[in-house]
């Protein structure tokens, strides 16, 4: 994994910045652009990169998300490795035509003649009192685009390695970064170049009582729940999907076969969220191992509320996760 053993403590923002810096340094085909990216972006993810790599390679675009994605697709078709930023995942909706019509279809429709090795990064999710729509978690829409990978890291070290892998991937990758994690954790991150394999879920914590399947900003929530449970002698296994598409069903099934109980945790609205696919897979592939219903802890049947004072009731927390755990343990 690491051909560079030095590490430094970094936030997720810094780790992503570092990954972008490494990618820009080692591959002249890499370009970085989006709204306000030149000055570092609204979260400072691209801080310093325009100064270091020049305005030709790190640049602002006009305020137009379809434009950003469509322009990137064109760059990628003609040999570049574009890395586009959408300022908030809730603002990629204007770009969904480009995503659903082209991003993942190009290799398929041209039978491999043309490909789109492009990365689209976007902060997503709630928990930090952003304005309306800034807290959306639209990953399930993205997983519906065949030919598009969807990656959501849960910590700085993994964010860097996954992002570098995404940029080097021959296919388009959506890379979503939980806003809640941007500065809340600092962790050791290897310097220099390294990649982590896409398409693999990982066991973030081993246990045998029940499996929590989750990703992104909910991993820390699930780990916290697991800690609380452990104090009561209940060892929960936490699976961090990391890559939602292609979905690593095998790792999830292996865990559920072992524990017999599964709770899927995500902060998007429950109905139609990616957790539905996870639960459906469990019902399909490992129903015989189940000793309890497959529960989902997720957003309620409403938009992420634009109402600051009560928004924290929407996003799952350890308490809600533990309630579901208690239910599957009691079953």
């Amino acid at each position: 994994m690491a051909d560079a053993p030095d590490t430094r403590p970094m936030t997720l923002v810094q780790a992503v910045n570092d990954a972008l810096d490494v990618a820009l340094s080692q591959d002249p085909r890499v370009l970085l652009f989006g709204e306000d990216v030149g000055m570092g972006g609204v979260f400072r993810v691209s801080d310093g990169l325009q100064g270091k790599h020049g305005e030709a390679r790190v640049f602002d675009t006009p305020l137009a998300e379809a434009g950003i994605v469509g322009y990137g697709i064109g760059l990628a078709l003609a040999g570049m490795r574009p890395v586009a930023e959408i300022q908030f995942a809730g603002f990629l909706y204007p770009a969904l035509d480009q995503v659903l019509s082209h991003l993942g279809r190009y290799r398929h429709r041209t039978r491999g003649r043309f490909t789109v090795p492009m990365v689209i990064r976007a902060p997503y999710g709630g928990g930090v009192h952003t304005p309306e729509q800034h807290a959306d978690s639209p990953e399930a829409v993205l997983t519906q685009a065949p030919g598009v990978k969807v990656v959501i890291p849960s910590d700085p070290m993994r964010a860097k390695g996954l992002l570098l892998a995404a940029i080097e991937d021959p296919d388009p990758v959506f890379f979503l970064e939980a806003i809640k994690l941007y500065r809340s954790v600092k962790a050791e991150v290897p310097s220099g170049h390294y990649t982590l394999e896409l398409g693999r879920a990982r066991v973030a914590r081993a246990g045998d009582a029940a499996t929590l399947v989750t990703y992104g900003g909910m991993v820390e929530v699930c780990l916290k729940a697991a800690e609380v449970a452990a104090r009561e002698g209940v060892e929960l296994e936490v699976i961090d999907l990391e890559t939602l598409a292609p979905f690593d069903a095998a790792t999830v099934m292996a865990s559920v076969e072992k524990t017999g109980r599964a709770v899927v945790v995500y902060e998007a609205r429950k109905i139609g969220g990616f957790g539905a696919e996870v639960a459906a897979r469990i019902a399909e592939e490992t129903v015989w191992s189940l000793q309890a219903p497959v529960l989902r802890v997720a957003g309620w049947d409403a938009p992420y509320p634009p109402f600051s004072a009560i928004e924290h009731h929407y996003r799952p927390d350890a308490r809600r996760v533990l309630e579901a755990v208690r239910k599957v343990l009691a079953a």
Partner: protein
């Protein structure tokens, strides 16, 4: 096209002048009210009593001037930046405070107010404005819809689609582009090659006007003409109001990261508030006493608004799942129970 202007930076009035002294006084009142609200709202935000707040300092005339051109019954379709326009259209200060407090009570406007909520996803409001404008015709109403967008937002596809729909359907709509020089950190020159946004009107076959957005008289005048055309069935107008975003993009933004502190210095000379005051003084209808009275009155209005807002009931968790559909789904109902129990 050069921006149309009726009040020079020193307050000198062009002749002929489009507004009566009473109108100018009324406009000044609204502009000062807007300025005071904005400054105090930013302070409230710093005190943790508002959520994210987008100030509009320097753009008061562009917003108020356009809003005053509306008649009762007309519609306002704003972006997030137009609190000044909404206030001028009748949104109460307490409602505006609750709105920016992100309190559910702030998001339900009074039933008789034809003001849509502030729009976060850029440029999406423009198409709604066209639809709202057209809807009157079918109901025997001659209302006009006034909508706003920024220079940055003019790059979105919706901007184009809205102007084209408005032109094709000859919708009674007026679109004001507040060209304030910046889309967060991106200066206008990097957003478009021809920074004269009003030039785009010709392509759609509709009138395009560029106006000094810091001159209330000019904005009011051109918008009034556009509203009259719209109401007469002569279709939409694109107005570019040239102004400047003096403050940060929002309360979360630090402009020091991308523009020098004196970037706005030139603006000071063009401040819409002081310019208007100078014009009023030139007319002999304004003096320090009147100013003091006005300021006192508005200060009291704001203080009362804060009191009223603070007296709003605490938001309740179950409000999250209310009003998704007219009739609650079984899932929402179950969630409502859970949330209410806490």
């Amino acid at each position: 096209m050069e921006p149309l202007r009726f009040i020079a930076e020193d307050g000198a009035r062009a002749d002929p002048f489009p507004l009566s002294p009473e109108e100018l006084t009324r406009g000044y009142r609204e502009v000062v009210r807007a300025r005071v609200f904005d400054e105090r709202a930013l302070t409230l935000q710093r005190q943790g009593k508002l959520s994210v707040y987008p100030p509009y300092k320097g753009q008061e005339a562009a917003q108020v001037g356009a809003a005053l051109a509306l008649d009762p019954g007309d519609w306002l379709v704003p972006s997030y930046r137009e609190t000044a326009a909404a206030l001028a259209c009748g949104l109460s200060m307490s409602q505006a405070i609750l709105y920016w407090r992100a309190d559910p009570a702030g998001w339900r406007y009074p039933d008789d107010l034809r003001v849509l909520p502030f729009y976060i996803p850029i440029a999406t409001q423009l198409l709604h404005a066209v639809g709202v404008a057209s809807a009157g015709r079918y109901q025997g109403e001659d209302w006009v819809a006034l909508t706003f967008i920024g220079d940055g937002g003019s790059s979105e596809g919706d901007f184009h689609e809205a102007l084209n729909f408005a032109a094709v359907f000859q919708a009674p709509m007026v679109m004001v582009v507040q060209n304030n020089g910046w889309a967060i950190s991106v200066p206008t020159e990097k957003q478009m090659r021809n920074p004269r946004i009003a030039d785009r009107a010709a392509g759609y076959g509709i009138p395009g006007v560029v106006v000094d957005g810091n001159d209330l008289a000019a904005v009011w005048h051109v918008t009034r003409e556009a509203v009259a055309r719209a109401r007469a069935g002569e279709g939409p107008t694109l107005i570019e109001a040239v102004t400047y975003r003096v403050g940060p993009h929002t309360s979360s933004d630090d402009p020091g990261r991308y523009r020098s502190a004196d970037a706005g210095a030139a603006w000071l000379a063009r401040d819409p508030v002081s310019r208007l005051r100078a014009a009023l003084e030139g007319l002999g209808v304004w003096d320090d006493a009147r100013e003091e009275a006005l300021r006192a009155e508005i200060a009291e209005e704001f203080a009362a608004a804060v009191r009223e807002a603070d007296a709003a009931p605490e938001p309740e968790p179950q409000q999250i799942v209310e009003q998704v559909f007219e009739t609650m789904t079984p899932d929402a109902r179950a969630a409502w129970e859970v949330l209410r129990r806490g």
